[in-house]
C-alpha cells in the first residue's frame, strides 16, 4: 500500500508521531506519480525530486523543533496549473504560457506552504479552466481513474484524477462554474467551492474574475475542511477578499444533522438528469433524513437562465482577462511575424486552443458597443435575480441538496464536438458561482458502468460549516471507495 492511499489528516498524524518522515511521504508520492502518470496524465509539471527532498528536510526540521505543528505539516499537495507557484512552471495547460515560470506564489499556496505542506506538482486542466472534461489541455487529455476511456471532468480534472488515482493525497482546484465540484463527482472524490472572497485570488490566473474561487480536492470532507481552513485568509492584495472570523471549518466536522432543514429543488431533478444519478442523489437525501434532517422539495426558479447568464459573464471577463497573453512579455510568441499587430494575431492564434478562442470571441461580442446592454448588462441583472432566488430559499433551508452533474463521466472525445451540450452539463453548478455561494461535491454511489456519482450540497454565503456538517454526516454512513488505480483497490 502506498502512503498516497491515506488521507492528509492520517498522514499528518503519522508524520507528527515520527512513524513516517516527510522525505518518505515525498518519495512515495513521486513514486506513485511515476507509476501512474502514463495512464492518467494528471500532471503538467512534477517538481524536481532533489529540490522537494531539500524542502522536506527543512519541514522535517521545523516539525522536530516544534515550529511547525499543524495537521498539514509535511503533507504533499498538488496544485492546479492556473495557480502561480514561484519558480515552478505554470501554464494553465495552454501553449500560450509555454515556459512561463512565475516570479511569485499565489496567496493560497503561500498559506499552505506556511503550514508546512509541500507542493508536489501542477495538475492538468482544461485550457485556462475553460471546459468540463480536461480534454482542452495543450498537454493532452487527463483520463478518469475509474475508467481510462472516460474523462475525469473539468476543468480541475487533473487535481481530481490525481487524488482518485492516488498519485497525490490532496490538491487545490479552482471553480468558476463547477470546475471543482463536477470533476470531483466524476472521479469519486470530495471538493469544495468556498464562498466568493474566502480564498484569496491573488496568484490565480483569472478566467472569470467575479466567479473564480480556489478550493480543496481530497478523499473526504475532513481533509477538505482542513485544507480550506488553511488556505482561507483575508488578503489585502485581493480587493474582493473578505474579512471573516469563522474560518475554523474543521469545527463543523460533526456527525449530526438533527433538525437541519434541507431544501431539494424540483428543478434539479427534471429532464436531462440521468436516472441512476437521480436515484443515488435521492438516496443520499434519504440517508440524511434518517439521520434527522428535515427534507422539503421546493421550486428554485430561474434555473434555466443560469447557464446563459454564466457563459455571458464568464466569457466577457475572460475576453479581457486573457488579453494580456500577447507574446510581448512572457509565454509563447509566434516564430514568424511581420510587425506588431501580426505578432499579436499569430501568437494568439497559435497559442490559444479552439475552446479558449471560442470564449474570447463570445466575450468580445457581448461587450461590443451595441450589444453590451442586450447581453452583458442583461446577464448581470439575471445574476442578481438568481441570487435573490437563493436568498429566498435560504430563508427557509439551511442547505440545498442536488446532483453535481446531470450524468456520470462521459467517454473521452464525446463532448468537444457539441459545446452546447457540454455547457448544459454545468446546469447544477454555475448558479452557485453566480450567487457567490459555497458548494461541496462528494461521492454518493456508482452507476451501472462503475463510474462515481456526486452529491452536491449548497450553502448560503459564509455558511460553509452547514454544508461541511451535512456532508460529513452523510460521509459517516459509508466507506471511501478507492479507484482501480489505487493500490488498495477494493474491486
Amino acid at each position: 500500500m502506498s502512503l498516497t492511499s491515506l488521507t492528509a489528516k492520517e498522514l499528518g498524524i503519522k508524520i507528527k508521531e515520527k512513524e513516517i518522515s516527510v522525505k518518505e511521504a515525498v518519495n512515495d508520492t513521486l513514486d506513485a506519480i511515476e507509476k501512474k502518470e502514463g495512464k492518467v496524465n494528471s500532471f503538467v509539471t512534477v517538481a524536481d525530486r532533489d529540490a522537494l527532498l531539500k524542502k522536506a528536510e527543512k519541514v522535517q526540521k521545523k516539525i522536530g523543533e516544534g515550529t511547525l505543528d499543524g495537521p498539514l505539516a509535511g503533507v504533499p499537495i498538488a496544485i492546479k496549473d492556473n495557480i502561480c507557484t514561484k519558480g515552478l512552471l505554470t501554464t494553465c495547460s495552454s501553449k500560450i504560457l509555454e515556459g512561463f515560470v512565475p516570479t511569485y506564489t499565489a496567496e493560497a499556496v503561500k498559506n499552505l506552504e506556511d503550514a508546512g505542506a509541500i507542493v508536489i506538482g501542477k495538475t492538468n486542466m482544461d485550457e485556462f479552466a475553460m471546459g468540463s472534461t480536461t480534454e482542452t489541455s495543450a498537454y493532452g487529455a487527463t483520463k478518469n481513474p475509474w475508467n481510462l476511456g472516460h474523462v475525469p471532468g473539468g476543468s480541475s480534472g487533473g487535481s481530481c484524477s490525481g487524488v482518485a488515482a492516488e498519485e497525490c493525497i490532496c490538491a487545490l482546484g479552482s471553480d468558476t462554474g463547477g470546475s471543482i465540484r463536477q470533476p470531483s463527482a466524476f472521479c469519486g472524490v470530495t471538493g469544495i467551492k468556498p464562498t466568493y472572497g474566502t480564498v484569496s485570488r491573488y496568484g490565480l490566473i483569472a478566467y472569470g474574475s467575479s466567479l473564480d474561487q480556489i478550493g480543496p480536492v481530497a478523499k473526504d470532507v475532513t481533509d477538505c475542511a482542513l485544507i480550506l481552513e488553511t488556505i482561507s485568509s483575508y488578503d489585502k492584495k485581493d480587493s474582493t477578499s473578505m474579512k471573516r472570523e469563522d474560518l475554523d471549518f474543521t469545527s463543523a466536522l460533526k456527525d449530526d444533522v438533527k433538525g437541519m432543514k434541507i431544501g431539494i429543488p424540483k428543478d434539479y431533478f427534471g429532464e436531462g438528469l440521468d436516472r441512476e444519478v437521480s436515484e443515488a442523489v435521492k438516496g443520499a437525501a434519504k440517508v440524511l433524513e434518517e439521520k434527522g434532517a428535515v427534507l422539503e422539495e421546493f421550486d428554485l426558479g430561474l434555473v434555466e437562465y443560469a447557464i446563459p447568464a454564466y457563459y455571458v459573464i464568464a466569457c466577457a471577463e475572460a475576453s479581457s482577462n486573457l488579453a494580456r497573453f500577447d507574446g510581448v512579455k512572457y509565454g509563447y510568441r509566434a516564430k514568424q511575424y511581420e510587425g506588431l499587430h501580426n505578432m499579436y494575431k499569430k501568437s494568439r492564434s497559435e497559442g490559444f486552443g479552439t475552446e479558449v478562442k471560442r470564449r474570447i470571441m463570445l466575450g468580445s461580442f457581448v461587450l461590443s458597443s451595441g450589444y453590451y446592454d442586450a447581453y452583458y448588462l442583461k446577464a448581470l441583472r439575471t445574476k442578481a435575480l438568481i441570487k435573490r432566488e437563493f436568498d429566498k430559499a435560504f430563508s427557509k433551508y439551511d442547505v440545498i441538496l442536488g446532483p453535481a452533474a446531470p450524468s456520470t463521466a462521459p467517454k473521452l472525445g464525446s463532448s468537444l464536438d457539441d459545446p452546447m451540450k457540454m455547457y448544459l452539463g454545468d446546469i447544477y453548478t454555475v448558479s452557485v458561482n453566480l450567487a457567490g455561494l459555497p458548494g461541496i461535491s462528494l461521492p454518493c454511489g456508482m452507476d451501472g458502468e462503475g463510474l462515481p456519482i456526486g452529491l452536491q450540497l449548497i450553502g448560503d454565503c459564509f455558511k460553509e460549516k452547514d454544508i461541511i456538517q451535512a456532508a460529513y454526516t452523510y460521509e459517516c454512513t459509508r466507506e471511501y471507495r478507492h479507484s482501480p488505480l489505487s493500490d488498495v483497490y477494493q474491486g
Binding site: C92, L97, E317, S320, R324, K329, Y344
Partner: protein, 479 residues
C-alpha cells in the same frame, strides 16, 4: 471671409497625481530610475496579479472635484478599457466610464474682455497611466519600460464652453494653479504631468448646432495650445468655405512645423468594450469622507488673492502675481510670518526674484531658497546692517545657494560702515582726487554730488551707509 465664425472648444486635461505610490500597487511613482526599476507583478500585468486601489488617489480626485464645484459620485466604479498596445501590460487600461468620481462642476474664468464666465466640467475620472516604449536606434528591438505603468492620473473633461485661445489658457491656468495649491499634482506641461487635448469645432456665428469637432493631441505648452487652436480654427473654416466637410478625427500637433495631421478618423475608432473591472470593488464615498477631504482643502488662489489685499494691505497687482504661482505664495507667507514685513517680502519676490528667474531661465517651481533666509536679509537691510546695493548682492547668493545672509555678510565683510571717522577720511580722499567735481558743485552744479557719493561708495566697496556719505560730503563741500 464673408461670414463670421465662432470657435467652440472643450478640453480633456490629464493630470498626473502626486502620490508616492502607483494607483493599484505599492511601486514608487518616482520619475527616472533604471528601466523597469519601479515595477511589480501588478503593474507589469503578470498573470494572477490583482489591482488594489490607492486611497490617496481617490482623495486627490475628490479634492480637485470639490475645488471645481463638482458633485462627488457616492458609489463610483472602475471600468476596463480594452485595447492592445505593448505599453499597456494587461492590454486594458483601468479607467472610469460609467460612474466617474466627479461630475457636473465648473470654474469661473476671466475672459479677454474683462468679463467673467463659467467653464463647465462634465466629469473627472481616475485612471492609470501606461508604460513607455523605448526604441533601440540600432537594432530592430523595442523595450517596454513599465515604470510609468500604473502612475495615477485624473482626466478632467470640460464642457464645450470655451470660445477662444485666451479662454482656454485662462481655464488651464486656473485649473493648474488650483491643482498645484491642492498639492494634487505639480502640473508641468513640459514634463507631461499635465496634458491637454483640445476638442474644437467651428460654426457660423449665431448657429445653434455645433459643428463637427476634431480632437488635437500632443500639445506640450500653453503656446502650442494657443497656436494649435488658431491653426485648427482656420483649417476648419477653410474647409467649410471651400464647401468641404470637417471630418471627425483625432489630429496630432507638430509645434515645430506649426501644423497638425490626422491620426485616426471616427471610422477607425476602436470599440474599447468597456465593462466594470471585476477585480476592483465599487468605491463607496460617505459624507464623512467628503467632509474630511473638504476640511483638509487648503486656501485656494481666489481666496488668497482677497486675503493678501485685506490682511497684508498689498496692492491688487502684487497680490495677483504672488498668488499666481503657488511657490511665490508659499514663500511670501512663510517669509512674512518671520519678518512681519509683507510689502518688503513682496518686493523682493516681484523684482529681484523674477529678474533672477528670467536670467537663469528657471520656473518659480525651481526656487530653492528658504523663506527664512529671505526674511533675515530683509531684517539686515532694515536695521542698516547692509545697504540696498549690498543686499542685492547677498540676495543673489541666497537665490543661488540658499546661504545664511547673516553669516555671509559677516564672512565677506559686507557690513555697512557707520563709522563717521572712517567715512570722513575716505570722503576727503575722494574730494582731493576729484577737484573738478568739487568745483562744479560749488559752482551750483548740485548733481556733481552724486558722482562724489558714487566714488566714495566705490572706494568703500559699496559698504558705506549712503545717507551718511551724503551728509558728510555736504558738510565738507559747504566749507
Amino acid at each position: 471671409m464673408s461670414k463670421e465664425y465662432e470657435t467652440v472648444i472643450g478640453l480633456e486635461v490629464h493630470v498626473e497625481l502626486a502620490t508616492k505610490t502607483k494607483i493599484f500597487c505599492s511601486c514608487s511613482t518616482a520619475f527616472g530610475g533604471a528601466i523597469n526599476a519601479h515595477t511589480c507583478p501588478v503593474c507589469t500585468g503578470m498573470p494572477g496579479s490583482l489591482p488594489v486601489l490607492n486611497k490617496q488617489v481617490v482623495e486627490y480626485a475628490m479634492a480637485v472635484g470639490l475645488a471645481t464645484n463638482c458633485e462627488i459620485t457616492r458609489y463610483c466604479k472602475f471600468d476596463r478599457k480594452n485595447y492592445f498596445y505593448p505599453d499597456n501590460p494587461q492590454n486594458y487600461q483601468i479607467s472610469q466610464l460609467y460612474l466617474p468620481i466627479c461630475r457636473n462642476g465648473g470654474i469661473e474664468i476671466e475672459t479677454e474682455k474683462g468679463g467673467k464666465k463659467t467653464v463647465g466640467i462634465h466629469e473627472i475620472h481616475m485612471e492609470e497611466d501606461a508604460g513607455k516604449l523605448v526604441h533601440d536606434e540600432d537594432g530592430d528591438v523595442s523595450v517596454v519600460d513599465f515604470n510609468r505603468s500604473g502612475v495615477p492620473l485624473i482626466e478632467i473633461v470640460s464642457e464645450p464652453d470655451m470660445r477662444s485661445p485666451e479662454e482656454v489658457i485662462a481655464y488651464l491656468d486656473k485649473l493648474r494653479l488650483m491643482i498645484q495649491y491642492l498639492g494634487a499634482s505639480d502640473c508641468k506641461l513640459q514634463e507631461g504631468s499635465m496634458r491637454a487635448d483640445v476638442n474644437l469645432s467651428v460654426r457660423e456665428a449665431g448657429a445653434k448646432e455645433f459643428g463637427t469637432r476634431t480632437e488635437m493631441k500632443n500639445l506640450n505648452s500653453f503656446r502650442a495650445i494657443a497656436r494649435a487652436i488658431e491653426n485648427e480654427t482656420n483649417r476648419q473654416i477653410d474647409l467649410i468655405e471651400s464647401g468641404e466637410k470637417v471630418i471627425q478625427e483625432t489630429r496630432r500637433w507638430d509645434d515645430s512645423k506649426a501644423y497638425s495631421y490626422a491620426m485616426r478618423s471616427k471610422e477607425d475608432a476602436q470599440d474599447y468594450r468597456y465593462f466594470p473591472d471585476p477585480d476592483l470593488v465599487p468605491v463607496s464615498i460617505s459624507d464623512e469622507w467628503i467632509e474630511s477631504v473638504r476640511a483638509k482643502q487648503p486656501e485656494l488662489p481666489t481666496e488668497k488673492l482677497a486675503r493678501y489685499q485685506s490682511e497684508y494691505g498689498l496692492p491688487e497687482y502684487d497680490a495677483q502675481i504672488l498668488t499666481g504661482t503657488k511657490k511665490f505664495a508659499d514663500i511670501f507667507e512663510a517669509a512674512t510670518e518671520i519678518c512681519k514685513k509683507p510689502k518688503k517680502v513682496s518686493n523682493w519676490l516681484m523684482v529681484e526674484t523674477i529678474r533672477l528667474l528670467k536670467e537663469n531661465a528657471m520656473d518659480a517651481e525651481d526656487i530653492r531658497f528658504s523663506p527664512g533666509n529671505l526674511a533675515k536679509l530683509i531684517d539686515l537691510t532694515d536695521n542698516g546692517t547692509v545697504n540696498s546695493t549690498v543686499a542685492k548682492e547677498v540676495f543673489e547668493a541666497v537665490f543661488k545657494e540658499d546661504i545664511d545672509p547673516e553669516k555671509y555678510v559677516e564672512e565677506k565683510g559686507l557690513k555697512t560702515v557707520h563709522d563717521a571717522g572712517a567715512l570722513r577720511e575716505t570722503v576727503e580722499t575722494v574730494m582731493k582726487n576729484n577737484p573738478k567735481s568739487v568745483e562744479d558743485y560749488k559752482n551750483g552744479k548740485e548733481k556733481a554730488i552724486g558722482f562724489l557719493v558714487g566714488q566714495t561708495m566705490k572706494a568703500m566697496k559699496g559698504k558705506a551707509n549712503p545717507e551718511m556719505v551724503n551728509e558728510i560730503l555736504k558738510k565738507l563741500l559747504s566749507k
